[in-house]
Symmetry: C2
Subunit: 480 residues, 2 copies
């Protein structure tokens, strides 16, 4: 009989785990409800037993899960279920899961966990993860855990925490795996064999000299392929891409992508080997920042949990809505200037949102392109003029095309030729303005060191709305 | 004297390379202009020499660049410069660079390259990259290159191409690095040493049995740490995450992130080892799709080159603008229904865009959250009701808050209490509608198998505009 190979894991398995756990939680809630009724004492005992059995089932199912999967499942559950499950996870697994969670759900779980259990959980973290999570943990908990460390570990922790959150220094690990340039291949292999296991993502070892200065990197492959008596320094890459602790994670992420790195050395200004940056922390960073960029463009600061509380959500979305409200009111004042014109020809009120809307949409297309170019560092100063000229030409071409179409439509609808001409002109001019603003706003925000994803769109819509109303109604007053 | 350690590479170096090349191209263009004037024959010769020297400088500079860096520089250059530089790159480097380029600039370069040179360039690609690029290459070129292959390679190529573009089968490489379960550690190491070098991202070898069925994976680390006489099967991970060729790249990307993989086996349904998927192709896929998602939300289909031609850009942006124009016109017809009401109270025309705008903005916040949840597979059916209820509650809370504020403001501005009340009511109702549509539209698009990033926002804005006008003007007709 052909032994059936195990089918491919991950997706399907994960979905079924999620469904199973959701079902267990559902049953738990039903039993909870029944228990509260307590019709007969006898029955209550039975139900109590059922509930306990149910939770035991869940714990068994959960214990087999990878921390990343458990994090995924926690994030997919509504808050009440999430807490219920969280309480059943043992401290070590909880610690590993905490590292994998997205920032907002992580924060909510940390806030909902008692201090004592939190200290127990955090105590299971290794130094690297502890440093990485430090900003998210309450002061008192960090203090308690830090006090329980040996003094050398405590010093390392303090040093890591001192680096800014999205810096290489904050993301790097201290397990460097360094070897001396005077070592032979056989010597290094013998050393490695003495350890039970190598740290994760150790695809290569870093070669240092007597003063701890980085001299190169030698891959495990090179060690395997090398002759035992060779010096590792003759097998090493002499110029590996390296980082300094104050480099930003953005720079590191780009270099990891560009050079397809698995790990890279972190060195001091003088070249001393300090730590190791690995692809998992970098990928994690990329995912988190892609995430928050997309949400930032919609005006959600710092990410938001799908299942955040109503109050928290409303507060999180407020600042941007307030800005939107103010700009919308200001734009509407431009209409207010022309109330007498509108009274004479009400069709203007009907058509003006079209002029504003098409300006906003074309401008947002330009913004999306420019933001992407900026994010990928592909807009050197020498190219911005070229880009602006191109976008202006596109807007004139689109303006003639769409303005013409819209104008004909308006003229036919209201049997009013001049109205059509005014509308066509307003659309064309608004598209040109949208192109200028769409290029200028993200570039300026970037120039003054702000995130162009945050705010460009609001500013643009403000301008295209205001100008849409002003141009259309202004031209109408002049020519109609 | 302390030998100065080399400063960290990448970012700064890359920017300086870009600036240098831009300068060379600038000089080249100036010399070109001068040459066209040709004042004296003597001078023309001198200039000809200068131009050649200039190009030689550039070629030398370019030859030292990593293909990923060269791709980056090409993408950062306006079209004329890009072509000029592209022509100077030798075929092998051009081939490697082609793989690294983003789809749109790649396409434009392929189109601008003569058939003969293109065949030469493409001929330098390895089998994996050739399969990966096959969709982007002209039929004739693929045919010519495929004809020049050995028949076994040609079969492999055909097989890879047959898999859909974003499937694991399309992304995988055939260099599997398989070892037999009956091999010893020493035997495998000896085999490896016979090769000059291992394929990229070979962090582990896949263990197969006599029937080529995947039995596990053994890491290079484990080989290094293992005893020479041990069987590799005793050191292997017996249940590595595996994929099948028809799995989607999205699924693979999630698994790579979740389990921090560097490489993973691809197997047939029966478990036969077929290929190897590596983190570089997966990261590349993630970056490309994050990219096109962001652009899709702004209505740019299939990405757009920053420096695409005006005509190409205008065409690329047209479909979405047409949709926008139609929806804007339809929404404006709702205003048309109330022209007599507006004539009586022109303030309505001034205030109505505010009602529409705040609805659109809150709805887009909801959409951004739901799209992210869907992209991360964190919205099981059981949670959608919970989410809808939450978003409804948020919208009621925000509606009371912002509606109240707006109402007070309108009442004061026009000294008209009833107008303020009507406006407050319209804002509240429009926010509730925005919440329902913001949850329902992306979920429905996802449900019928379409990309929710594409189109959700247009549909939402259409509804919130129409309803904003209809509610505000309708309430006004009823109560004012």
């Amino acid at each position: 009989m052909e032994s059936a190979p195990q089918s491919s894991r991950s997706e399907a398995d994960l979905q079924s785990a999620l469904e199973e756990i959701t079902a267990v939680l559902e049953r738990h809630r039903v039993l909870d409800l029944l228990a509260h009724r307590q019709e007969t004492p006898n029955r209550a005992v039975v139900e109590q037993l059922q509930r306990r059995q149910n939770l035991v089932d869940m714990q068994r199912r959960v214990r087999a899960l990878h921390p990343a999967d458990l994090a995924f499942i926690l994030e997919s559950l509504p808050p009440a279920d999430r807490l219920l499950l969280w309480k059943e996870i043992d401290a070590r697994q909880a610690a590993e899961t905490l590292v994998e969670l997205s920032p907002v759900p992580r924060q909510s779980l940390i806030e909902a966990t008692g201090r004592e259990r939190l200290v127990e959980i955090v105590g299971k973290l290794d130094m690297h993860d502890l440093a990485w999570l430090s900003d998210a943990l309450p002061e008192g908990v960090m203090q308690a855990v830090s006090d329980s460390l040996e003094s050398s570990d405590r010093d390392l922790l303090q040093e890591s925490i001192a680096f800014p959150e999205d810096s290489v220094g904050h993301l790097m690990t201290r397990e460097v795996g360094a070897v001396r340039d005077s070592d032979t291949v056989a010597g290094v292999l013998a050393d490695l064999r003495e350890r039970a296991q190598l740290p994760a993502y150790m695809d290569r070892l870093f070669v240092i000299d007597a003063r701890h200065i980085l001299r190169g990197a030698v891959s495990l492959q090179a060690l395997i392929l090398g002759h035992p008596d060779e010096l590792v320094s003759s097998r090493m890459d002499k110029d590996p891409v390296r980082f300094q602790p104050n480099d930003t994670a953005v720079q590191a992420a780009r270099a990891f992508e560009r050079y397809d790195l698995v790990s890279a050395p972190v060195v001091t200004e003088r070249g001393k080997l300090l730590g190791r940056l690995t692809v998992d922390s970098v990928m994690d960073f990329v995912r988190r920042s892609a995430d928050s960029d997309a949400l930032a463009m919609a005006g959600l600061r710092g990410g938001e949990d799908l299942f955040a509380s109503v109050w928290h959500s409303a507060r999180n979305r407020s600042p941007w809505l307030l800005v939107n409200l103010i700009t919308a009111f200001v734009a509407s004042r431009f209409i207010g200037l022309f109330e007498s014109t509108i009274q004479q020809l009400v069709a203007l009120a009907t058509l003006m949102p079209v002029v504003a809307s098409i300006g906003g949409n074309t401008g947002n297309q330009t913004i999306a392109l420019v933001i992407r170019g900026l994010a990928m560092d592909q807009l050197p100063r020498s190219s911005t003029r070229h880009l602006l000229r191109k976008e202006l030409n596109v807007s004139i071409l689109s303006g003639v095309m769409w303005g013409g179409l819209v104008g004909v439509f308006a003229a036919v609808l209201y049997r009013h030729l001049a109205l059509g001409l005014v509308m066509a002109g307003a659309v064309l001019l608004n598209l040109v303005i949208a192109a200028i603003v769409g290029v200028a706003v993200p570039l300026s925000l970037h120039g003054i060191g702000r995130d162009p994803a945050q705010g460009s769109s609001v500013l643009l819509t403000f301008v295209t709305d205001s100008m849409g109303f002003l141009l259309f109604l202004g031209l109408a007053r002049l020519f109609l």
